[in-house]
């Protein structure tokens, strides 16, 4: 469904991705892990063409999106829902307006139906009573949940999660993970998560990919990942400073 082939990306001469090859299974949750600054978010932003590759291909349903024109890219992006690291809610709108925003802009749905759908989604993420609040009035966890509700409002085929639990306490992190698992089960989307919250995130993942040195070093189910003999994986899981991953 989503296949990345030989993806290269540099920023101002600094090579971040050096030939990434990975395939994401349809209807499953794949978590991408790796050290800070290794290019996880850069890889994620290539999947819905927020960034375009210097070299390589990204196939969504057999269409190479790296060669599409702007208008076609917008059609591809409509397949995606994205939960950004800071939720990226539009500050000038209430939570309710934020969640209903894609429906108002991209569909001709009646206002009464929009209100019902938004209320349903907010209820599902536990924000049923918070619709009138502005993003600035919400806690970090609530913002993430509102962002998740917005990401799911268009019933996307693929949902990208950029560090959904960063900055949250362990209890809240677990509740966000459970929410992702629950909604994935309910809607059946393909989930791709970038996360540092290991090993907790493994509980909701079908596959774990390790990104290091600009390439995917490992792509396995979580139980296999944890027992991997790959020294890079072992160093990362155990948080050792000595090993093949260079620590600055």
């Amino acid at each position: 469904m989503i296949r990345v082939a030989n993806l290269h990306k540099s920023f101002r001469g600094q090579k971040v991705l050096k030939g990434v090859n990975i395939e994401f299974a349809r209807g499953k949750i794949t978590t991408i892990v790796g050290t800070s600054g290794c290019g996880k978010t850069v890889l994620l932003k290539h999947l819905n063409a927020l960034l375009l590759p210097d070299k390589g291909e990204i196939f969504i349903d057999s269409v190479d999106i790296s060669k599409l024109r702007q208008k076609e890219l917008y059609q591809i992006r409509a397949k995606f829902g994205v939960l950004f690291q800071g939720a990226a809610l539009l500050d000038s709108m209430s939570v309710f307006e934020n969640v209903g925003f894609p429906l108002r802009e991209k569909t001709k749905m009646k206002e009464s139906n929009i209100k019902k759908k938004v209320a349903d989604r907010l209820e599902q993420v536990g924000l049923g009573e918070m619709g009138h609040k502005l993003p600035a009035e919400l806690s970090g966890g609530m913002r993430k949940r509102a962002g998740l509700a917005r990401a799911l409002i268009m019933d996307p085929e693929i949902v990208l999660f950029d560090e959904p639990t960063t900055g949250l306490d362990p209890v809240l992190a677990t509740s966000i993970h459970q929410l992702i698992a629950r909604t994935q089960e309910a809607f059946g989307f393909t989930g791709i998560i970038v996360s540092h919250t290991i090993p907790q995130v493994f509980e909701i993942s079908d596959y774990v990919a390790m990104l290091a040195n600009g390439v995917v070093e490992e792509l396995t189910p979580p139980e296999v990942f944890c027992s991997s003999q790959n020294p890079i994986v072992q160093q990362f899981i155990h948080g050792k400073t000595e090993g093949p991953i260079q620590v600055l």
Partner: protein
């Protein structure tokens, strides 16, 4: 020597490429403004933020500019025993030059900087990326309505600046310096023609475009960090001021 020339060449290419990007940004914002659905609600909202919210500062600066013109004009004209021309001198100065330029400066400081900071913050907090990811064109949603609003609000603010400026000059000239009220207004009526009003309004429309274009471009392309936002805000204000003065020169020379 070669590397020095290379650096100059690289700098020149970067500057030209930057200007090209700015121009393409404007073209795409204008083209998207004509694409359906029209963002009427957003245009009205931005007319309020650019126009209504700047009204007090424009009115205040217009009033004091007019009063200063009253004093300075009276001082200069008295040397030629031509105090009765005070209304005429004030009106021509305001309508043709000071009204459009000073109100554009006020709007740049009051609204343009806020526009750049708001879009820069949206860039830093991934709100612009969020619009892209929702398959919504952020230029159509964020930039085009602001540019249309700038084109509408700027001439209206300039007109208000001019009226209040003339009133300020009247207060000083007639109220404080004993210029005859009749000669103040009759001089104005005899010397001001439609072309004077037209040239001032044309300038203000151009300045409205410059302010919204530059401030939106700088904010939209700000580096996603706090210093990036502050730098974008500063650059947008400075560049808007410079371009307003440069365009003022060209427009004046064309429409004299």
């Amino acid at each position: 020597m070669v590397s020095f020339l290379g650096r100059i060449g690289r700098f020149a290419i970067d500057q030209i490429a930057g200007m090209g990007r700015m121009f393409l940004f404007l073209v795409s914002a204008i083209l998207l403004a004509f694409r359906r659905p029209a963002k009427l609600r957003l245009i009205v909202y931005h007319i309020k933020t650019i126009g209504v919210d700047s009204l007090s500062v424009v009115a205040l600066s217009g009033f004091f500019t007019g009063m200063v013109m009253g004093f300075q004009g009276y001082y200069s004209l008295r040397k030629f025993n031509a105090e009765s021309w005070l209304g005429s001198a004030t009106a021509l100065g305001l309508l043709r030059e000071l009204g459009p330029v000073l109100s554009a400066f006020m709007v740049t400081g009051r609204t343009g900087s806020a526009m750049a900071a708001e879009l820069g913050t949206m860039r830093a907090t991934e709100q612009i990326d969020a619009l892209y990811s929702m398959a919504i064109n952020p230029i159509k949603y964020l930039v085009s309505p602001r540019i249309i609003a700038g084109l509408i609000a700027m001439p209206l603010l300039t007109a208000i600046f001019n009226v209040i400026g003339i009133f300020g000059s009247y207060v000083v000239g007639v109220g404080m310096l004993s210029v005859s009220s009749g000669s103040f207004f009759s001089g104005m009526e005899n010397s001001v023609v439609f072309h004077d009003v037209y040239s001032g309004i044309t300038k203000s429309v151009c300045f409205g475009l410059i302010i919204t274009w530059i401030c939106c471009y700088k904010g939209f392309h700000a580096s996603p960090m706090a210093t990036g936002v502050s730098q974008a805000t500063t650059e947008s204000v400075v560049l808007s001021f410079v371009l307003i003065l440069v365009w003022d020169y060209f427009l004046t020379s064309i429409m004299l």
